[in-house]
Assembly symmetry: C2
């Protein structure tokens, strides 16, 4: 990460759901897609992603199915559910409101009379 990794806290789930709102993906593919879309700024680690996916599945926001990829290799594809789309919408709204508020505090300086 080029920045404090803790900045990512809370937004990773949103980003994953966003990817899945466009198409079904398997884990490794999500890592690579996120890296590409972010110009290699986000290098999400496997140790972060897989537990997160299992958690999203437990909470009914994604479902999982297996697909053959080669003779012996099986990939686990994830698909977003209706609840997942709702959760994504909520998270996106939260994110916009959060960043607006932070930027408001950051810019607040000049206009406040102390």
């Amino acid at each position: 990460m080029a920045f404090d990794k803790s900045l990512l806290a809370g937004s990773t789930g949103m980003l994953i759901l966003k990817l899945l709102s466009r198409e079904d993906m398997y884990g490794y593919q999500m890592i690579e897609t996120l890296a590409t879309l972010s110009d290699d700024t986000f290098s999400l680690k496997a140790g972060t992603l897989y537990p997160l996916l299992h958690n999203l599945e437990e909470n009914g926001l994604v479902t999982c199915y297996e697909a053959q990829a080669g003779q012996a290799r099986v990939r686990k594809y994830y698909s977003i559910t209706k609840d997942g789309r709702k959760a994504l919408e909520v998270k996106e709204t939260e994110w916009q409101s959060f960043t607006e508020t932070v930027n408001k505090v950051l810019k607040g300086g000049v206009s406040y009379a102390y």
Copy 2:
């Protein structure tokens, strides 16, 4: 918090340094100022702030001095250091780059050919 509290992770230190870049403040005042500037969206908890201030002090980003406030009450004012201002600048740049990247991924949907 009106949103997932973990979104705040990593940005609280930046916000506190930002407040202190404008004027010296004591802890309780920072909590109230943040609430006011954010229209009560940020309700930073004392249990978060005081350890954070001690940590900033340990790292030389702020200094502390006491000031009388009443007969018996003493307030602990914090003042940002030169290193603190440098760290703030870095954190603000990080923050802008981070949010831009997240928004890029969020908007990325339509323009990508799969």
